[in-house]
Symmetry: D2
């Protein structure tokens, strides 16, 4: 029995002035998802201490939800090494980089009325259609300066876009921070976003013929994973970012290698395994595929990311401030080309 009953649950104590690292420490003494949240911070801190290349998957409307600067913090302080995102989050990031806003609204709004007022709703967030269109114009203008009839990896495209924002002296968001840090950003479904529709419009108008080379994206991801001594993942939500990062471990054979699977894995999700989908699946399931190495250190945090994610990153900022500074960064990027091959 003692083998099982070794660590008592420590009731959470309320005290004034509690900081977020203390919060997380206390959560670690409790149970259910609070304990998982604390475990997530612990695993992430462990990754930062070792030579681990950290992939980050970003799904869900996290930028409209106010998570943009949490992402920027991760990039600037190199708590992650490679970002895979939905197109929408990158577009919303651009939108805010250009000085525009997302606005607080209500989930029970009158959507017919909003449609009439040309306001888009994302749950309890609102945006102006007109302003959205102007951000699209920026995409069109930026893209028209790219080379004709050339296929760009999404990494290259978003790197150049980030550089452009830096050049224009825009407020440093996800894309700009990533460009500055040479941190690669991939987008597995670029056609499924305003970037895609803007490029579609340009092509129809005969302005410019541009292609995304999503196959080269795959190759680069495998290169990054192959060059790492160890890899870990952090997922906000599921979608294409989660699978795109996980499948990489099955593709070492492209370079004649067998990859061993990610060795650390954290996911913050509101989905559940019982529906059978990839977004909600457990890391145990991923072990059977060896996307995650059989003995990987993993945790799933069932929580809205808007709550769990900023707490975790704040706690990390306190706990590993020293560790982060001295972290050995995987230096696989220089300028526009991956230099690891």
């Amino acid at each position: 029995m003692e083998e099982h009953l070794h660590t008592p649950v420590k009731p959470f104590l309320i005290s004034q002035g509690c900081t977020l690292s203390e919060l997380v420490q206390r959560m670690g003494g409790t149970s259910f998802q609070a304990r998982n949240l604390a475990r997530g911070v612990e695993i992430w801190a462990e990754m930062l201490k070792g030579e681990v290349t950290i992939f980050f998957g970003l799904a869900g409307a996290m930028v409209p939800a106010g998570m943009r600067h949490v992402m920027v913090y991760l990039i600037q302080n190199r708590l992650i090494d490679c970002l895979v995102s939905t197109g929408a989050n990158l577009y919303h990031d651009l939108h805010e980089s250009l000085g525009r806003f997302h606005w607080q609204g209500h989930p029970c709004a009158d959507d017919r009325e909003l449609a009439g007022s040309r306001i888009y709703r994302i749950y309890d967030v609102l945006t102006s259609e007109e302003e959205f269109d102007r951000t699209e114009e920026f995409v069109t203008h930026f893209s028209s300066a790219l080379e004709q009839d050339r296929a760009y990896t999404t990494r290259e495209y978003f790197f150049l876009l980030g550089k452009e924002l830096l050049n224009q002296g825009r407020e440093e968001g996800i894309l700009a921070a990533a460009a500055k840090a040479n941190l690669p950003v991939y987008c597995p479904a670029p056609g499924d976003s305003v970037f895609g529709t803007a490029l579609a419009a340009m092509r129809v108008k005969g302005e410019k013929q541009l292609l995304f080379d999503v196959i080269k994206d795959v190759i680069e991801m495998v290169q990054i994973a192959s060059s790492a001594s160890s890899t870990g993942v952090v997922f906000i939500g599921g979608g294409t970012p989660k699978n795109f990062i996980q499948q990489t471990e099955l593709c070492g054979y492209i370079f004649g290698k067998e990859l061993k699977g990610h060795e650390y894995a954290i996911q913050i999700t509101t989905d559940s395994p019982q529906w059978g989908g990839l977004s909600g699946c457990t890391f145990d399931e991923a072990r059977s595929w060896r996307k995650i190495t059989p003995n990987a250190t993993t945790v799933t945090i069932n929580s809205d990311a808007t709550i769990a994610f900023p707490i975790m990153v704040s706690a990390l900022s306190e706990m590993s401030a020293e560790g982060i500074k001295n972290r050995k960064k995987p230096a696989f990027l220089l300028g526009r080309e991956l230099t690891i091959l």
Copy 2:
């Protein structure tokens, strides 16, 4: 358009040393459930400022999850005025008051093996069957000192149990703190817990014939609500506590009054409205019944309570330290009898 786009989403900023009241303030600038969490703190603080009698509904295995002292804090500092709980949480509270523990375990344990080792599992929490039995013996011993053939309200029963724990100098948990503070505790389904099964065993063995007067519980709840100038509710989960507190507002007629519905309402839940059940239903639905007054101030926080609840109470402890101290407490209880009639 300006009528809609007035308050920008403020991206959450990471900084070191952030306290929980600062956390909640920042969450208020974001979206989705983080914003709802902040709104919950705001509404609760508003209740504490006014003359509002606050009912608290407690469901889910919150004591095993480490939430016992958060509850104690609420009672000792009078952030709530009346507690309605599942029997299990009160039993788990007694268990810890007697110096026993809940233990950290794993949700994927081998339950057949645990059964063989006489260990009970509650998701990722473990308890010793033998120790549980000893807590039941305490219940039996305590109950055997009660009056024969008498019907006790659950409030009276748990008040006397709390007093007993105080007399024995036990560590102050939920029941003891409530007894000390004369804060009423109700349990709508006392038979659905070890309290009920212990009393059942006593009766079969011919030791003592005890009854719970669950109808008088209903009457007292209506008295408490009727005597308040205004009422509010906070629910952790749903179940009988949620409905029991809500139905009270429909029963003013018992005393020839029409109650106006609770004026403030906060719920932390992991359930959803689309399944049609009471546990997951919205406060809007409750408005149609006038359990909640049509113009009530309400918020639903979709989150595991182990994460949201301690944060909210910690933030309240900082924000309203002064306000709480001077709070006018509804003085409807003295000793064993409700004195408000």
Copy 3:
């Protein structure tokens, strides 16, 4: 590998005239929750073949949702042996037995307007407050004929209520069918329903002093379980019915026995285990408590019960029509008293 890969997933084939037993058979060849649904029918059918006493837990607003006659079918055809229900479902059953209706509405109704029109909403169902009040009058009238100062088990109370409905020649609903079949109905939280509030009002008005003996309910449940050679459970939702039925297996000691745990277990739920609550917990967790016997045959069907439940019962009606007819019924009830002791 063959040990794992023995049964191919059989794609569901669309054909016209497919009956519900064929539907379930086809679901059994697929995966995810459809396969679980089919497994649920299989387990239920297995219970009906053996000498298994079947406890049924009913939570969620199943009668307003149109599930009343499915319940009646279960009782009339003895597919279950003992019903544990929330008070609300029994009240809604009475409401319809008296010739009143629940009405189809919309989940996004204007609840303030409904409150003004004295219409109650339950997700997408509406009821008339005035008609609800008249059903409460029936409860009051019925209860006023009961014996003064007497404690009734909930089983006895609902049996008498069912008999009254039969005597009045009302349409046979849950309560009437159960009374006719001598099938016991328990309600662990009678105070948490209009039955409780009606009795509270009667007492305050000095009309009649009635008690519910919820402890004797516990004793009877243990008697029923103890007298069975084998037991099984079917849960719609969680709440008090689920725990009340499960805890029974821990209470054999009341009669000096050790019960072995339920041997068959089916639950249809929309809750999930990760929140730690009893409503969403797995049957594996219940094994550690021996509420469910370690080698029990179990399945969890994650689905809205309004979809899964009628399909399952319809399929059972076809598959086991013969078996049901000859089923050996546990004859533990005669008239108002349990006769098994």
Copy 4:
């Protein structure tokens, strides 16, 4: 009050030999998600009667779950006009078309052991890694016959793959049926699947340089929508297919048009709106964007698709057998090129 209380909930009646169209009809008389399911069938039938181009979004592991032939039925009987899918479902379809199987397994398998046995798990479905690799070889072989240095739309790629399967006389699955019917199939994230990784491997080995033109996919989607007098959508799950289909309505401007938004919308989902993501969002939210026209006829069915989807399609097969036969099909495809411009 009569304006609200016009249609009583009709309790579901159990009867033997009930067919799936009768099931759905009865569900329509009930509430909660069963009523929504019935409403979904009604809306789909309405679309089939009119001149509506129906887009279908397929996410989640639906082919491993046994839904392949339901999809084939939809295509062969032209209950849909355009399919947008995750890459995984198309790969799993190919896998079965080549005579291989998915296998029934258990969600609580020992995944480390499965990894050792080279078996992949998808919730309660298993596949052989070796057989998966052989399906990838088929993809490689097929792709090596495509033109060098050419960018293929995903529609073209999957059309050619379907044709190849037809030529080889393979069992008619999703891809083959779609190719035969000239029904376009799009995949917004082709790199996020074995199709992408196979092409990546080919390129690294210097075998063939192939590109996916995901921008032309966007253009074609807008062409299809622009050429329709009216459009509707059916979504299984969310992910890229849902957004990709919805964004199309915002892009009429590419061809100098304003599209009016989809006029019919059905989604079967296990996600919820409160997390703010696109996968779980309501069609009301989509109205604010005018992805869905303000007065669109919509329904959300909260259910595992393995349960709801085959029932809906079976019911449609009975209800509209005649209607379907005479359905006016949008003839926007001939051979490899879209012919509608």
